[in-house]
């Protein structure tokens, strides 16, 4: 039986506590926005999720570069894990954003730069996963994944910039691009937001650690399976 590290269990507990505290902060100890009402509180976890998504994809590109330089499989595990977690949190960001947008802007979706960029980012990393599952040789898979993680991440600022530019040429579209900018945040709100951002970053680290363990175990099991097939 493979045991997970004691420290990881400690981290699990800390993350759980932080997460509950963040929830309590948002639910009971943060004032409602005077204009938007209760729904504005989605903001805290929405921004945090989007932040984790970005952070995860950034990390996947960095560890992709790490793999190409060092040739150590651990970098591939980090990159693969980060992409999966990034996808989960980007999707959470998109869905929670939609739910916030519906009562405020009266639409589930707008083609504003942030939303569109996030959507395209999700598509890039879904393609990343398709590429991974389409290549059999583990070494080649790791190499290709690393390359695509780098190329994909570098294209993201271009995407954002191009949609931004697109929108400034079309001023007809309701100026929603500053999704947070319209808020008058008092200090309590800022404090809650910062706390949520930190909590989600810790949550990301916890998930990442678990996911890397999973990736490593998958590799060991695959090797074992391969060996036991050879025995026969």
């Amino acid at each position: 039986m493979m045991k997970q590290s004691k420290w990881l269990t400690v981290l699990d507990v800390i993350t759980g506590l932080l997460f509950l505290t963040a929830l309590c902060l948002v639910f009971f100890f943060t004032p409602e926005d005077a204009m938007m009402g209760a729904v504005q509180k989605v903001f805290y976890f929405h921004v945090s999720s989007a932040w984790v998504g970005m952070l995860a994809f950034f990390l996947s590109a960095i560890s992709g570069a790490g793999y190409l330089i060092k040739h150590n499989r651990i970098w591939d595990h980090v990159s693969e894990s980060a992409v999966e977690i990034g996808l989960v949190f980007s999707v959470i960001g998109i869905i929670s954003g939609s739910i916030w947008a519906k009562p405020i802007w009266n639409t589930w979706w707008t083609w504003d730069p942030r939303l569109t960029t996030t959507a395209i980012m999700v598509l890039i990393y879904l393609a990343y996963r398709m590429l991974r599952s389409g290549v059999d040789d583990p070494d080649r898979k790791a190499r290709y994944a690393a390359i695509y993680a780098i190329v994909g991440f570098l294209s993201v600022p271009f995407t954002f910039f191009s949609i931004r530019l697109f929108r400034t040429i079309h001023p007809v579209v309701i100026g929603l691009s500053e999704s947070g900018g319209g808020l008058n945040m008092d200090t309590v709100m800022v404090r809650t937001l910062v706390f949520c951002l930190c909590t989600f970053t810790v949550l990301f680290c916890t998930f990442l650690w678990h996911r890397i363990n999973l990736a490593q175990l998958t590799e060991t099991v695959d090797e074992l399976r391969f060996m036991s097939e050879e025995d026969k």
Binding site: L68, M130, G134, V135, R143, Y144, F158, F161, L165
Partner: protein, 227 residues
């Protein structure tokens, strides 16, 4: 100095070989043109294009057509390299592997340009929009260059996967999104009668994107083909 000369010799040899083969059997360009004409035909009815369509729609139809036929061309070009085991012998060339990358990319780029050289007049005739402006050529040149570069880089990987040709568009389209957007917007602007100076930002976006993929190809292609 010698190695630089070797590099360009390999580069020239690859481009020359591709273009000569293409000249002989016209496999890529005929496939791409067929596809492009079919797309225009379908768009005509799907979008109910009139003979005086708006500039934005024209630019959009034109670029979507170019992009998809381009993907077909890139796939073909890279896969044929694999099937004939040309790549293995190319890899033996005594120079940096990025020469192969640029060779293939330039080959595809030239074919895409040739395809648009046919497509633009045909489109101009069908829809009475005059596309043959010098600014327009610049956009086509920059846009197809970036697309050919990114496509060649990613096709090197997708050709090795189990899904082969169906994977390339999935990898390529989200990454080339800014390129496509910039090309369409610049074309629209030019068709609406704006001068090149008015769409300068978009042009610079195209240039920067092209440079990015030149650098990426230089750095990463080596790692795609290594065994």
């Amino acid at each position: 100095m010698n190695s630089v000369r070797d590099y360009f010799q390999v580069l020239r040899a690859i481009i020359w070989k591709d273009l000569k083969m293409e000249w002989r059997n016209r496999e890529l360009i005929s496939g791409m043109l067929m596809f492009a004409l079919l797309m225009i035909l379908i768009f005509n009815f799907a979008l109910e294009l009139e003979s005086h369509t708006s500039a934005g729609l024209s630019a959009g139809v034109l670029w979507v057509t170019l992009i998809y036929s381009g993907a077909i061309g890139i796939n073909r070009s890279i896969l044929s390299e694999r099937e004939n085991n040309c790549l293995d012998s190319l890899l033996l060339a005594p120079t940096d592997r990025s020469a192969i990358f640029f060779g293939k990319a330039v080959g595809i780029w030239v074919v895409m340009l040739a395809a648009s050289a046919v497509l633009l007049p045909v489109y101009s005739m069908l829809y009475s929009v005059f596309l043959l402006k010098d600014g327009f050529f610049l956009v086509i040149i920059l846009g197809t260059a970036g697309y050919a570069l990114a496509g060649t880089l990613l096709a090197g990987m997708s050709a090795q996967s189990r899904a082969r040709d169906s994977l390339l568009p999935l990898l390529l389209l989200p990454v080339t999104f800014p390129l496509i957007l910039a090309s369409v917007k610049t074309s629209t602007g030019l068709l609406q009668g704006f001068a090149l100076a008015d769409v300068q930002t978009w042009i610079s976006l195209l240039v920067v994107y092209d440079i990015l993929f030149i650098v990426l190809g230089l750095l990463l292609f080596e790692r795609i083909v290594e065994e």
